[in-house]
Symmetry: C3
Subunit: 247 residues, 3 copies
Amino acid sequence: MFTAIVSAETLRSTLDSVSVLVDECKIHLDEDGLGIRAVDPANVGMVDLDLDASAFEAYEADGEVIGIDIERLDDLAGMADSGTLIDLELDEEVHKFRLRMDGLEATMALIDPNSIREEPDIPDLDLPATIVLEGRDLNRAITAADMVSDHVEFGVDVEREVFYVDARGDTDDIHLELGREELIELDAGEASSLFSLDYLRDINKAIPRDTEVQIRLGEEYPVKFTLPYAEGRGQVTYMLAPRIQSD
Amino acid sequence: MFTAIVSAETLRSTLDSVSVLVDECKIHLDEDGLGIRAVDPANVGMVDLDLDASAFEAYEADGEVIGIDIERLDDLAGMADSGTLIDLELDEEVHKFRLRMDGLEATMALIDPNSIREEPDIPDLDLPATIVLEGRDLNRAITAADMVSDHVEFGVDVEREVFYVDARGDTDDIHLELGREELIELDAGEASSLFSLDYLRDINKAIPRDTEVQIRLGEEYPVKFTLPYAEGRGQVTYMLAPRIQSD
Amino acid sequence: MFTAIVSAETLRSTLDSVSVLVDECKIHLDEDGLGIRAVDPANVGMVDLDLDASAFEAYEADGEVIGIDIERLDDLAGMADSGTLIDLELDEEVHKFRLRMDGLEATMALIDPNSIREEPDIPDLDLPATIVLEGRDLNRAITAADMVSDHVEFGVDVEREVFYVDARGDTDDIHLELGREELIELDAGEASSLFSLDYLRDINKAIPRDTEVQIRLGEEYPVKFTLPYAEGRGQVTYMLAPRIQSD
């Protein structure tokens, strides 16, 4: 049995965080909160989201797993005015998810969880470099890189103690360096990896300007972006596989 | 002879109210005000608009009937800054309509009224249920219904004294109930009819959030939406034919 | 050698002024400032822009001429927050243009100036009428004319001392007159010429509402629009060839 009451904003942030990578997902409705893990069809980008029961006004669950069409649920949740609460209820008999908001009741068919792409095992990599920065700085680096190229290098220059972003296009280049003063935290280790901007552009949409983002990076290794949401009661991690450096 | 002075806002509201259903219309320029009646090409949606002479700064007419391209006149009227007045004049000799606003003079060719679809007789139906509600509540019901289906049922539950909106899609449903507290007025009579969201979506664009809308409803009968505009000196009624209930 | 520091806003205004007519241009980096002259592919519209060295925070140049892709440079300059400064530097060895802004460094390939359409000689015409008016009045006249026709007549009625704009479409007409009270300045001489709205629509995008624009006009002669920018430290002139009056 699952029933919960949540702010429209928290529900939509949860869905928007996942929809940048996949259209459908399984949601684990565990006793202590909600969890989503998903990987994109090409197996390049993964998302791992946790939202604690304390982020809800009311929350009761017994470990159910449901399959949902993310955009559809996001649209329905969008009918609630921001600042209002949404009542959620799982009707297991008819495989429906029910939302109630200001007198409006929406009933949404669930997707059979077995028909949804299997959830990834998100590896617990030992990545040598950790960078913490403002979302706006990461937003800007990705947007600039995307103007000139379709891939970008993220790296750390250990000696100079800078985190750098480097994009080389056919005619134009972008280079951004952030030192200790511009960063919130820097645990400098040898790191330099190349990533596809197709994915970063999408993930970037889910990174708010004013949120602290932790980046973990290695040498030709996946990158992990971790950020809190829902006033710290939720957390999202994106993991992105590297591209092979061609030069 | 027709001459008038009207605020840009009132002229544009008039045109926008009609353009949601038709592209061209006849305007009756009567001594006591202006009237428009039109039906959409499929004969499903009708509009009946009256604007009293008192809504104008100056108004003089002798019962002329003119044919206009609504969007074209709306575009030209859009050249006036909001809050300014537009001088209107009919030049019957050359079949032109003239607008003057802040030094700008626009002359628009009229359409032969005989070439415009005949005006509908809007039947004076005796509909058993009357509901008065805020435009925003109707906006929300139509928008939500439109997310899940292409048709929607409007009805009144006489016993429970609620007005309801019910949309059933292939996978998802929407149900909205408004009781006496949420409604401005409810004259409950047996009523339940199905309507096409194609039309309601368009009519919805002409229903402001903060206007009181009167809905009259019957059993598999047309619905009428009536709302004031131009500070109560104008009134628009939309009538929409029901769809046959298929189940 | 060229290095300069300029506000993001001034750099973007410069580029936007030119991009309404051409995609690529040569920039003359002279000792006392920057100059751009360009003509559109059809040889109908010309732009002549000067930006004084005093518009820069720092400026040093030796008469270099570089070729640039305007939109590309505009996009890169768009990465600077408005109100911030951009460092510009020409790297002649590798034919690159370098922008630095808030830790971000962008390097852009230059275009061989010889591959860019030759710069026009902008004739020093003796035009009999001069009109100075608010940008917003010119914006409005062009927008209105564009609604009804694809060409427009600009003229001066010497006896009545008015500047007029006249557009005649297939069905609708626009006529705008501005007298001495509405104009900032009027040096009335016989003038009346017809222009293509395709070009005026584009030039209009580069005319701010709150800038004084000087128009010089003759009898079936080109029109010149001259306006200051960058707080008067820059100036743009557009020249547009007339269309042949057909009636």
